[in-house]
């Protein structure tokens, strides 16, 4: 079996994007021909509050280098209050990972509206850069998980 030995690290990032805002922003970024790293995989969810801890943990433990959760700005959730609950849940998972000291910084929550195509490209770009600096998810290189 051959371990990855490439010199240039390209982070694999998964984005959980809310259908009503950030997913539309991603679309807009696409039609505006803005540059999005090809290793950024998008999963469309109906609301940021759809995202359960286990969804994020599974992504993380399967080896994603970074995870972006993005939804509507506070006050703009299509379902009224979903993103306020999502923010609490996200904060809790971050806290658990922080206390255990297992790379909480690989998770990011952002608010990106449907009109913010440029901001979407910028957030994804900056996050990718940050993860590149952090290096690969240590789980990926371990045989023990």
């Amino acid at each position: 079996m051959n371990r990855q030995t490439d010199t240039e690290f390209t982070p694999k990032i998964v984005g959980f994007l809310c259908n009503w805002c950030t997913y539309a922003a991603a679309d807009l970024a696409g039609t505006s021909r803005l540059k999005i790293p090809s290793t950024f995989s998008v999963i469309r969810v109906m609301c940021s509050s759809r995202i359960d801890h286990n969804l994020l943990l599974t992504t993380f433990f399967k080896g994603a280098d970074g995870i972006l959760v993005a939804g509507c700005h506070p006050g703009d959730c299509h379902y009224g209050e979903g993103n306020y609950y999502a923010r609490r849940r996200f904060a809790l998972l971050k806290k658990v990972m922080e206390v255990l000291d297992i790379d909480a910084e690989r998770l990011q929550l952002s608010w990106i509206s449907a009109a913010e195509g440029h901001r979407y490209a910028e957030v994804v770009g900056k996050f990718t850069e940050k993860i590149r600096e952090l290096g690969p998810n240590p789980i990926k290189g371990s045989t023990r998980f």
């Binding site: 433990f61 703009d76 045989t143």
Partner: protein
């Protein structure tokens, strides 16, 4: 913990006392018998020794002649009382008015479950007592007789000893909690006991019995409880310091849970784990064999079954806000992993982050079921001038 005396008396009324004579156990059973006799309740839920002699079981009954065989302060905690309350009231309030006598952590678990809609306290009268700690199940099964005497020793000193669970040595909520009635006996001479109403319902019940006023015993009891709480708090700090060192980072998690056999006993014994079907026991959580092989090829190897660390991390994320640090998970673990030390340590931190304390009946909803519009600013990535750019959807 004891709240301010005045505050408590306002809410619940004056404390009563029972004079020395029968000792705390006898006095508690007497009083429960009187409550049933006076028609204050229909049934009791109490621990009894099982026929094999090496454990205890919850029995619900209304025939007071059975009382003499009950063990009000059992040495171990085989089924967490919160779970017993759930069995009785998970669908609706109980048809009978039941008085349940339990350890403080069992009542705290019941409070969390009631916030989750899995326990209905409306027809329950919850009674707690000063708890010196529970003996590890493993030790008890091996030698019930000497463990019983060790436990009675613990009761007279008010402190956990060698074969108590680690969770008990680090517990600071071992006395009065948000119960309807509390029996306080730590620090009271010659087997006398305080009977403290903790709610209007508890007060109403106690008022019907001809009990002696017990204010005079309060100072010695309170002094003893705070002395013991300080000692346990010190042990807690020490244990948490060791735990922090042990679990830190991926390597720490791996080392701590390296001998986990994936039985999920910790989750099924936990009174809080509230999902009807645990995600980690469900079909969707199982990784496809193909995917395991691919992962093994990429990583150079993979642990089978996979996801043990994810299981514990996921459980922490799901339930640590409600963890009552009862120690049940450690007791249930067949390979002696200090699960409760880890969970209590993390729980203290997650609860603090949400300014929440599990186990109270203050009517406060669980942290994940409420929110403030302006909060947790540091959690999401900061937006500089998005406000001007942002436009509403649709």
């Amino acid at each position: 913990m004891i709240s301010g005396e005045e505050e408590r008396m306002d809410a619940a009324g004056i404390p009563y006392m029972i004079r020395p004579g029968k000792g705390p156990e006898g006095s508690v059973l007497d009083l429960l018998g009187q409550l049933i006799g006076s028609g204050g309740a229909d049934a009791l839920l109490l621990p009894f020794r099982v026929p094999s002699g090496d454990s205890f079981a919850w029995i619900m009954f209304s025939d007071v002649s059975l009382l003499k065989d009950a063990v009000p302060f059992p040495a171990t905690m085989p089924v967490q009382g919160g779970r017993a309350l759930r069995s009785l009231t998970r669908k609706e309030k109980g048809k009978l008015r039941i008085i349940a006598l339990m350890r403080p952590c069992e009542i705290r678990a019941g409070m969390e479950l009631s916030k989750l809609g899995q326990v209905n306290t409306e027809n329950l009268i919850l009674a707690s007592y000063d708890c010196p700690g529970a003996v590890k199940l493993e030790d008890y099964v091996a030698d019930p007789v000497s463990c019983d005497s060790a436990h009675s020793e613990m009761r007279s000193r008010g402190e956990p000893s060698g074969n108590a669970r680690s969770a008990c040595s680090t517990c600071v909520d071992f006395s009065m909690v948000d119960a309807d009635i509390h029996f306080g006996y730590f620090g009271i001479k010659d087997g006398g006991m305080l009977v403290l109403p903790g709610s209007p319902a508890g007060r109403a019940l106690l008022e019907g019995l001809n009990l002696e006023e017990g204010r005079g015993l309060l100072p010695q009891w309170e002094a003893e409880i705070s002395r013991l709480a300080e000692r346990r708090a010190a042990t807690r700090e020490e244990t948490f310091r060791e735990t922090a060192e042990r679990i830190s980072g991926f390597d720490g998690m791996l080392a701590t849970f390296s001998n986990c056999i994936g039985c999920h006993n910790c989750q099924s014994a936990c009174p809080i784990c509230y999902c009807r079907l645990c995600y980690f026991d469900s079909e969707v959580s199982r990784t496809d064999p193909e995917a395991l092989i691919t992962a093994a090829e990429k990583r150079g190897g993979i642990s089978i079954p996979p996801d043990r660390i994810m299981f514990h991390t996921g459980r922490l994320a799901h339930m640590s806000l409600s963890c009552v640090s009862c120690g049940q998970c450690s007791d249930a673990c067949p390979v002696s992993i200090p699960v409760a030390d880890v969970f209590s340590f993390v729980a203290e931190r997650t609860q603090r982050a949400f300014d929440y304390k599990s186990g109270r009946s203050d009517g406060e909803a669980l942290p994940l079921r409420r929110f403030l519009k302006n909060e947790l600013d540091g959690v999401h990535e900061m937006v500089k001038d998005a406000e001007s750019e942002a436009s509403p959807n649709e």
